[in-house]
Symmetry: C7
Subunit: 95 residues, 7 copies
Amino acid sequence: MKLVPLNDKVVLKQLEAEETTKSGIVLPGQAQEKPQQAEVVAVGPGGVVDGKEITMQVKAGDKVIYQKYAGTNVKLDGEEYIIVKESDIIAVVED
Amino acid sequence: MKLVPLNDKVVLKQLEAEETTKSGIVLPGQAQEKPQQAEVVAVGPGGVVDGKEITMQVKAGDKVIYQKYAGTNVKLDGEEYIIVKESDIIAVVED
Amino acid sequence: MKLVPLNDKVVLKQLEAEETTKSGIVLPGQAQEKPQQAEVVAVGPGGVVDGKEITMQVKAGDKVIYQKYAGTNVKLDGEEYIIVKESDIIAVVED
Amino acid sequence: MKLVPLNDKVVLKQLEAEETTKSGIVLPGQAQEKPQQAEVVAVGPGGVVDGKEITMQVKAGDKVIYQKYAGTNVKLDGEEYIIVKESDIIAVVED
Amino acid sequence: MKLVPLNDKVVLKQLEAEETTKSGIVLPGQAQEKPQQAEVVAVGPGGVVDGKEITMQVKAGDKVIYQKYAGTNVKLDGEEYIIVKESDIIAVVED
Amino acid sequence: MKLVPLNDKVVLKQLEAEETTKSGIVLPGQAQEKPQQAEVVAVGPGGVVDGKEITMQVKAGDKVIYQKYAGTNVKLDGEEYIIVKESDIIAVVED
Amino acid sequence: MKLVPLNDKVVLKQLEAEETTKSGIVLPGQAQEKPQQAEVVAVGPGGVVDGKEITMQVKAGDKVIYQKYAGTNVKLDGEEYIIVKESDIIAVVED
């Protein structure tokens, strides 16, 4: 069972303290300070959305920064996801 | 008697506890936590809506996630439906 | 004496309890629960409205569902009408 | 001395109780219930307004229904007029 | 020293009681009831403004009606002017 | 060190009492009544801004009137500047 | 590890008191008065964003003035960044 985003939507999963430590971004004690970092789980097809051509610029596995207060929280099979528009993702975090 | 949605409108039916259990998405006791999951009942024709070309991307029978607070509630023959715009549907739930 | 809607406007008449029973949609006692069901009385010509091409998709006699809080109430010759934009009509009710 | 509306503007004159009776629309005692019925006094030339082509669809002498709260009230030579945009006129009342 | 309006801007001068009497529009005692009547002092060149082609439809000397609450008040050499957009002028008053 | 405005931005410097007297616009005692008069210090290149072609219509040295509450105040090397969009400048003051 | 901005986004780093002194812009004691001056750290690719062609006009290393209240604050590896849209940058500070 999985979430397949439509149009310009992107499914994200909040990075948890353990994962962010593993990736070296933050110390565990600071995890609550970074609520906008997430991992891309699935990416919509893009195309013409609301009359504008959208090319998706992130891919599954990317670590991203997204706009505060953006998106819809969804729980599926006990996991929490955030679904945002591609334009709510403002940067990719590269190693 | 049935609802025929116009333009980019989609008729949804809220998934009830029994149905969601059957589909394996949630345990009955958690049904009240997922108010945005619904099944597509009927899909408008799309086309040019508000000056923009809209291609409908869901079909009757799809399980979908839709935007909180979107849509109009309608009761017909004792059944409750939600009519939303296609752009208020953000993801399809696939098995 | 009659109302001739302009542009993308549609003249509606609220379905009353008797009529809705006759059409089989609702039991009389439930009439107050369906304030958004109405019958189309007259349809504007469509065409270019606010810079966008609008094709009218309902016709006089259609039973329709329209957006809550949409439209302007008008009384003419003792009858009450609601004038809405075509885009405020979200679905047609077919038998 | 007269008001010449610009662009998509239309000059209206509220129908008074006497006039509405004469036209048969309402009984004098109900005049205060119909504040949106007016007679067209003058019509702007239309054309490209705010980047959109507007074709004026009413003419002087038409009885019209206009949007509540729309328009600007103007007094000239002791007469009260309402100047609205053509898109604030939603229907023509025909005999 | 003079005000040269840019783009779709128009410089207006409020008609004072004496002037409006002279033009026959109002009696002096009613001057405070007509705050939206003004004389055009200078007219911007029009052209493409905010991506739309604007053709100026008033000229210096015109008596006009403008939208309430529109415009910017400016004092220059002891004179008060109102600078409005052309679209805030809704009608010309002709003799 | 200087401010180079981007796109459709214009750097302004508020006219102080001494300067406005010198140019003959106002008496020193009235300086606090004219907060929207300023001198253009630098002008952005214009071009396509937010999808629209903008041609800059003021130049360094122009005395201008700008919209109240528009712009961003910046202090550089002890001098105060206001940076506004070209569309916030409504008129040029010519001698 | 670094931030790679998408679309029309720009990663900025607030100029601290020491740095601004070094560049000669401000005296250390005045640092708290200039919260909108920052150095460009990384620049998105531009291109078609929200249906409009955006050409990025700043480059890494530029000292810029940006709109108050614009942008998203991000902390990465103990450093604070501000991510803004290119249109929120209003001027470049040149030496």
